[in-house]
Symmetry: C2
Subunit: 139 residues, 2 copies
DNA sequence: GTCCCTGCAAACGTTTTGCACACAG
DNA sequence: CTGTGTGCAAAACGTTTGCAGGGAC
């Protein structure tokens, strides 16, 4: 697949310095960044980037399908370039600890597609971590 | 399984009128309520319930594993009693439209459990809905 | 030159918190 | 009676928006 920046240019996307920096931040090897982390990293490269632009750009990229928005248990949105190796999540419902895990992607049966064009699948396993299990033994 | 209120009493949970109403609201047949919806419904039954208490109670129930917190794409948290029929979600990355779908749950391989006690699995299929597909044909 | 993107700061909606009072145990 | 849960209102948090100026095409 072509690099992200190239794909964006081909979509007739106005390529500004800020947008390029944001896109390049996401194209890195990071796994799932919050909007604010993207903001900090982008600003480290190009100081004249505003928080608003980061949010706007992230939303556009998600709408284009070039980026996955994965809203995690912790309430804040996290973003993931959709080209990376797939991974899923295991989170403790009690303390919020989160681990990356590997598991097979579930398949969506053909009769459940509803005409949608599938892009990706996100899986979150809810669980109680070893430290939190003892506390729950009141049954 | 015993009713939710009974399970809570057995956990030495201080059972107040407000908490009972909140728990009963959730025990209903609803699928995924926001905190505010829980607040409205609880207040319809017992007017002297405050928003803060709803939030506190929901957080406690999630920590206990009696309730699943599922943060959807729309940013706000939604809550789901973990006893209901499982269903998954199909979300349009462009317009946010969300449908419930049925699909097999993915299995988490034994060597990926990390000592966690599994409670549930949440699956979100990211896609582009029929109305949003045409707009994206700029490649 | 035009239109879209940008930065700033203020607005927004949701969730959390501090405090004094009230009630379950 | 004691300790914990409650209501209220204000704060915190992440995100969005309105507006005037600036830069990509």
């Amino acid at each position: 697949m072509e690099p992200l920046v190239t794909r964006l240019r081909n979509r007739e996307w106005r390529l500004t310095a800020q947008r390029r920096v944001i896109a390049e931040t996401l194209a890195g090897e990071h796994v799932h960044l919050t909007a604010d982390e993207v903001y900090e990293r982008s600003r480290a490269v190009l100081p004249e980037v505003s928080r608003a632009t980061v949010y706007n750009t992230l939303n556009e990229l998600v709408g284009m399908g070039e980026l996955l928005e994965m809203t995690h248990t912790d309430g804040r949105k996290r973003y993931d370039p959709n080209v990376e190796e797939r991974h899923h999540h295991l989170v403790c419902v009690s303390c919020g600890r989160m681990l990356d895990v590997r598991a097979d992607d579930p398949r969506l049966p053909e009769d459940q597609h509803h005409g949608f064009e599938l892009l990706a699948v996100e899986v979150t396993f809810r669980a109680r971590c070893p430290e939190c299990v003892p506390a729950a033994s009141t049954s």
